[in-house]
């Protein structure tokens, strides 16, 4: 379950994060902003994640720290889907 979440997140990042490096070279706990994701790109990533996972991030989650790594994003999505279930 969690691995498929991470695979799906990686697909979104590949499509929208516009990282200078291949997303496959970025580890799950690496800082995406340090890896070159701009704040502009991060907004597109959030939108695409909402679409891909069919979730809505509450305002309290719309923080840089929630989107700073694949692990952090996975935690946030797990938390939303658990709450919704």
């Amino acid at each position: 379950m969690t691995d498929s979440i991470r695979t799906q997140i990686r697909q979104v990042l590949a499509d929208h994060a516009r990282l200078p490096a291949d997303v496959d070279t970025v580890s799950d706990d690496a800082d995406l902003f340090q890896a070159g994701m701009t704040s502009h790109a991060s907004v597109n990533v959030m939108l695409a994640l909402e679409d891909s996972f069919d979730v809505e991030f509450p305002d309290s989650m719309l923080r840089r720290s929630v989107f700073e790594s694949i692990d952090a994003i996975a935690d946030a999505i797990t938390q939303i889907t658990v709450t919704a279930a």
Binding site: F33, H40, P58, L62, R64
Partner: protein, 391 residues
Amino acid sequence: MSIGTDSDLEFATSVRRIADEVAAAHADDVDHNARFPREAIDALREAGALSAWIPEEYGGGGVSLESIAQACYDLARGCSSTAMVFAMHQIQVGTIFRHIEGQTWFEGYLQEVCADQRLIASATSEVGTGGDMGRSVAAVTPIGDGRFMLEKRAPVVSYGAYSDDILTTVRRSPEGEQSDQVMVLHRTAETEMELTGSWDTIGMRGTCSPGFVLRAKFPAGQILSAPFAKMMAESIVPLSHLLWSYAWLGIATEAFERGRAFVRAQSRRNPGQPVPAAHNLSRVMGQLSMLRSEVGGALEDYMRWSSAPGREPLSTMASILRFNNLKLGASEQAPKICQDVLEVVGIMAYKNDSPYGVGRHLRDTLSARLMVANERINAIDAGLLMIAKEV
């Protein structure tokens, strides 16, 4: 506004005196000659105002941010450039002490600021980043022996030549991404500053903000190691928008008061006669009142969000939007108020040598929309609007 303690009261009193007696007295000359407001800044130094906001544990005055904001407003009523220099210095000061995280070099440095009333400039924008403060080209470059250097092409460095130190945004390393940034504090005396432009502008002429190529060498301790994005979200951006807005509110208020003085003089000459200008000025007062509420409300939000655990609310999108909206609103409203006063008063406000003149105020507030261009802020907000749930 709550100005609670004795030190706050003492600070407010001395700033108001400096604004009236020193800043206002030299404002026209500063503007006319596009020169640094040295009399007012010296007076602020003498009063210890440059370290007023620094917590007492480092030897500062420990006054509240409300008092600093009020000081920006009071100084701006006398001289916009003085207020803007003071505001920018405080943004640098606040960024350092809010993110010091036990860095010993910076603890010693803050004590020096208190003892010597050092004036801190900043070099945030850079040639080649299109005005995006979230990216840097210049990088912290190792030169051996634990020392580093930076070389930055800064298109605008306000009062750089008059500063004691400069807080500069750079990439963490030459290999790092442009968005992986840190801030470095380097002493102006130890910085090679190659002038690359002039500062003959429409307004804010006394801030003396030409471009420079900055070259500095420094030890690792002078790198502020807190994450740059955190400093931006919690301090640099909201503090800039707040303190600038207080200065713009002060300028607009001074323009309004000149309009009011004109209308009062008119009505005294013809008591009992209707004064059409007063009706028009009443409308301007409504706008000024809205501007004041927006600026005051933003400061209250910032104080509340700053005191939440981990300053969490300040890193939300709602917070980015909140302070962007403040900046957009205040920067558009302030020059509008000055222009409206111009129309209410007429030729006596258009004349530079008239006691009712508002030309300088109008010109100074025109800078507001360009200091971090509103177009850029609208572009950021446009993205955030798509994702934020409550705006």
